[in-house]
Amino acid sequence: MPEKLIQGEKKVFMTGNEVVAWAAVAAQAEIMYGYPITPQNEIMHYWTRLVPKYGLKFLQTEDELSAGFTTAGGVLAGRRAFTATAGPGNTLMQEPLSMAEAMRLPVVVIVQQRGGPSTATVIYSQQEVTLTTLGGNGEGLRVVYSTATHQELFDYTIKAFNTAWKYRFPTFVLGDGYQAKMRESLTIYEPELRGITMVPTEPFVGRDGIPGVDREPVHLRNTYNVEEELYEVLEKYLADYARVAPKIAEYEAFDIKDADLVVISHGVVSRACKAAVKELREEGYRVGHFRPITLRPLPVEQLREVAGQTKQLLVVESSNGQLDRLVKEAIYGSTAKMFSLFKPGVGVTTEEVVAQVKGIKG
């Protein structure tokens, strides 16, 4: 066997797409399925460049429907499989991902958001929040991590495989075109050295023994004959999800204790918000920052706590209120006054967040 790709840990300087490919290898992913779309292409490029000597595989499919279904197929065969997509590709992929929800298949999907609707821009947005958290004709039985730095892209790509295989829900790493294309430093590492054990995989089909004699038969369904039958299954799935949601939910917050205005953002926009809050604090403004890392499930308890103790909330995002809607649902009943800075399809700078807060504070 060739030497491991990552030995120990080391500081590197690379693009986000490259980070994802390295993280997937570190997580012992076995196969990637994909169809090219900017800005995620280089995940495929780096994966195919890195993996042949480790015996890992790549399959380019004819479109994203196929990429999603083949990823589900890889998982059914017990492989730690993943795919990556963006924009219109993410739209197409919702059909196979609905099937993954129906069958509780631990597929892992990396999304690098681009502008929408439709082809729009290949550059950047946060407009795939609704699609990624609640897409498909189902109930959003999935996990979505929204990353903000290259370090998190590495950490959460590894984590996504474990969350998926532990809880058996499709799991997404929601990045964006900025994170995909920018270069910054991070530390890559062997997961075992950080105490991370990869959750073992197992085949869903083709298991040993005679079904019904040596073991329970495997019955994977995405089709039901009667309403009640579906309802019974969904009730169980929804109860499973509700039970594990608090364990999966993650967030980051600072300076919120005495804040009378809390800025809420997710993903790369949080970098601008964080810097803005620090700058405003230095000028004497009592502001804080709250950032859900999981957009599905949301850290509902913590969001409600923040909404309960501050007077004003400012939601900042590169879409027209996709995060805002999730937040409002979570904090329903709160009397905190809501403000927004929505820039659909466009990046948000520190300067703009500072100006917005000063505008609110008068």
């Binding site: 290949v122 920018m182 270069r183 910054e184 430093s185």
Partner: protein
């Protein structure tokens, strides 16, 4: 908290602004500093203005893009028009003097607008292909984010295999780098900006190191 130095490089596709930004970012990272570089990109395969956003500091960098640059370098008429929005009262705006009829398009609110004959110098004195390395020298001198010494190390890492085959290429690249430094340096000296509190001089942490590596009369 010391803010990072924010740099914008803009030019025509093929002028090499992205590779310049990338090399500087890599060199800064090698020095142990925090760097973030992001290219703009669109659906076009060629043509269009290419813009690189580069930030270098001592703490993790915040948002990848910004509204106002400390240094904005525009290398074509379209690049000037595209990037003058990034100029503010503290901005050094650098453009190439070969750009025709651009005087009225230059930003009015910049701290300083500086024209340098980088295209002409690279064509007449060096080789058109090292134009971007001339620009790199100019950026280094204006920003002080990386020493010329370390920029040379970065160039060596990137182009070393070519230099091995043809040592003249190494000389050409080093000379281009130094000429770029001079083009900006001359102006700073001429206009007595050396002792001011201008960012593009005071940020030069290891000034001596920086100068030691450049063989030129300043």
């Amino acid at each position: 908290m010391a803010k990072p130095v924010k740099i914008i490089l803009a030019g025509e596709g093929g002028q090499g602004v992205q590779s310049v930004a990338e090399i500087i970012a890599e060199a800064a990272n090698e020095e142990g500093r925090e760097a973030l570089y992001i290219p703009n990109f669109g659906v076009e395969q060629r043509g269009g203005v290419s813009v690189a956003y580069l930030q270098i500091g001592d703490e993790p960098i915040g948002a990848p893009k910004f509204l106002t640059g400390d240094i904005v370098i525009a290398l074509s008429d379209r690049a000037v028009r595209r990037t003058k929005q990034y100029a503010g009262p503290d901005t050094l705006f650098v453009y190439d003097t070969s750009i025709k009829n651009i005087e009225n398009e230059l930003p009015k609110n910049a701290k300083k607008v500086l024209g340098i004959p980088a295209i002409e110098v690279s064509k007449k004195e060096l080789h058109p292909r090292v134009f971007n390395i001339v620009i790199m020298g100019a950026v280094l001198k204006a920003s002080g984010v990386v020493t010329v010494k370390n920029a040379k190390v970065a160039l060596e890492q990137l182009l070393g295999y070519k230099f091995e085959k043809d040592p003249k290429l190494r000389e050409l690249n080093y000379r281009a780098l130094e000429r770029g430094v001079e083009l900006v340096g001359q102006h700073i000296v001429e206009e007595g900006m050396l002792n001011g509190s201008n960012l593009y001089w005071t940020n030069l942490g290891s000034e001596k190191d920086f100068l030691d590596t450049v063989s030129r009369p300043l």
